[in-house]
């Protein structure tokens, strides 16, 4: 449908730099997620894309043409808001048909297209209700339908699931992904929930203080983060400081971590201090002698599907790990920890 590129986007408020050179690219039909904590600039980027905010520098192009001078109402993008922004005085059908009515389409065509899209998002029979008379999940689907019915070149979603409870969130998440893939619309999706970002996206941009810290596939973001900030934000992570780092090949290093010597993959061209990333699921409890590391169990908690443990190593660092639920562990017990070497990753503390 449309390739969208954001180049070196800048936005400054009086004394606050909201966007400090954001660059991103969404290939046609991709869903790109902007992930980060509040204040990182993800919503600002989306609002610049929508045309609600004017950037101070940089460019946004759609299929190679700059859209910065096009006002919001002529960009032809669909926007889904966090609070849905449904017009409270219009029925569900009127909300969905609003954009079509503005295009002065014949009544019969509006009716058909509204009806079709309502089937698509499973809102059949609710056309005459007012927004306040339907549930939160249904309101969310009205907001989605209202954006989709205009066949937008680009779909912008600003934390669309934030106001839903956990159960509904799952359901609507799949609905959004299905509809986006079926229709092949390019989409930008803003969220602070890493599992949402992982599950839905073709590409994820992890944002930090008005910049993109890393822009990559969900798998790369999780398994091969460029710095600790990204690893932290994308899931549970253990970090062990490495005392000696030697390059032994292209992006491979020999390191000493918590008394053990290892050869690991990592970010290319690390100089200076580095940390080893170990995700909890890459670790396994063993007999003390069989492990790469040895330590003492300080906490264990049974969570049903898994057993969460914290283990203190000799050098004082703490490792969190997920064990098989029926494993018997006592606090204070000496254990060994085996590492799945394909899941280790070396990175600098802060990306250069």
């Amino acid at each position: 449908m449309a390739t969208v590129e954001v180049r070196d986007l800048r936005k400054r408020y009086q004394d606050f730099l909201a966007l400090d050179g954001v660059s991103l690219k969404a290939e046609s039909g991709q869903l790109v997620t902007l992930l980060g904590p509040s204040g990182c600039g993800k919503s600002t980027t989306l609002r610049c894309l929508a045309g609600f905010l004017e950037a101070n520098g940089g460019d946004i192009t759609v299929d190679g043409e700059s859209i910065l001078s096009t006002p919001a109402n002529r960009r032809g993008f669909g926007v889904v808001f966090q609070n849905y922004a449904l017009f409270p005085h219009m029925t569900v059908a009127e909300n969905i048909g609003y954009g079509l009515k503005l295009q002065k389409l014949p009544k019969s065509e509006i009716e058909t297209r509204v009806k079709d899209v309502m089937q698509l998002v499973r809102l059949g029979g609710l056309g005459d209700r007012l927004p306040r008379e339907i549930s939160g999940g249904q309101q969310q689907r009205v907001a989605l339908a209202r954006a989709l019915v205009l066949k937008p070149k680009l779909l912008l979603l600003d934390e669309p699931l934030a106001n839903l409870d956990a159960r509904l969130r799952d359901e609507v998440r799949w609905l959004i992904r299905d509809l986006q893939q079926q229709s092949g619309i390019t989409a930008f999706y803003v969220t602070h929930d890493q599992s949402e970002a992982m599950a839905m996206s073709d590409m994820v941009a992890v944002m930090k203080q008005g910049r993109v810290a890393q822009f990559a596939t969900p798998r790369e973001i999780y398994q091969k983060p460029v710095e600790r900030y990204v690893a932290d934000f994308t899931g549970e992570a253990n970090f062990i400081a490495c005392s000696s780092v030697m390059s032994v090949g292209e992006a491979r290093y020999a390191v000493t971590a918590a008394g053990a010597s290892l050869e690991v993959a990592g970010v290319p061209e690390i100089t200076g201090s580095a940390e080893l990333l170990l995700r909890p699921e890459a670790l396994e409890l063993t007999a003390p002698a069989a492990g790469t590391f040895q330590g003492t169990v300080t906490k264990s908690a049974f969570l049903g599907a898994a057993l969460h443990c914290e283990i203190a190593l000799a050098d004082g660092s703490i490792l969190k790990l997920t064990a098989e639920p029926n494993h018997q562990v006592e606090t204070g017990e000496e254990v060994g920890i085996a590492i799945d070497h394909s899941h280790t990753w070396l990175m600098p503390e802060v990306a250069p």
């Binding site: 609600f52 032809g76 922004a85 609003y98 954009g99």
Partner: protein, 270 residues
Amino acid sequence: MSEATSAFSNQRAVNIGFGVLIVLLYVFLMAPLVMIVGASFTNGLLIEFPPQGLSLRWYVEFFDRQDLVDGLLLSLRIGAVTAIVTMTVAMMAAMAGQVISGRLSGWFQLGMTLPLLVPELLTAVGLLFFLYKIQLAKTVMGLQMGHILMSFPYAYVSIAAAMRQVPASLEEASASMGATGWQTFRLVILPLVMPGLAMGGIFAFINSFDLYTISLLLKPLGGNTLPLALFDFLTYEFKPTAAAAATLSILLSILGVALVQKLVGLQRAF
């Protein structure tokens, strides 16, 4: 046990005392209005409460009095123009107020309600000199301007409150679906603030209808508003006709209160 009982009965005495006090205070608030309405239906020749017999003769007399009826008509006319102008100007100001943020916003709100906070007397005196300079003194036009100024804050406060209830995302949503600024205003904003807008108009109208001091200083030659005519009438004649005129005025304000309750609910309005 007995100590607890006496504490309990003390508490009851306090509650009853407070109840009586509240009733008395509401009587204090409402009694003057009730007495006017009562006195207007008297069959006697004096303004008195309770009335002597019942009749509508003083209403008939009111509508036969050219000076009072002229005053009523002028007041209605000025009130209607005031309502329309203040609604328009206040609607525009409230929309501008939406995009003003931070400290400036507080000053803007204060500025918009200034005519309500500065004593009417000062505004009236200043305006008298000003209208004299621009040669609008003693004209209906000048009086009209005074009424618009004095009633503007009532319209502004109601409309601005209604505008604050409309989230900015609705405007953005409308724009993202292709609406121009005017279309968004007509199809989204206006329907949503309509009750507040109407309430603002009602407040402005009633305030204009009740203004006295500013009308006294700015009154056009040979023209009296109803309050001016009523004041003169009370000073020189003091007949129950005045009670009839005042009752019509009270009726108007009760109508206004009822409309506001129906439109937005009194609790949100005040």
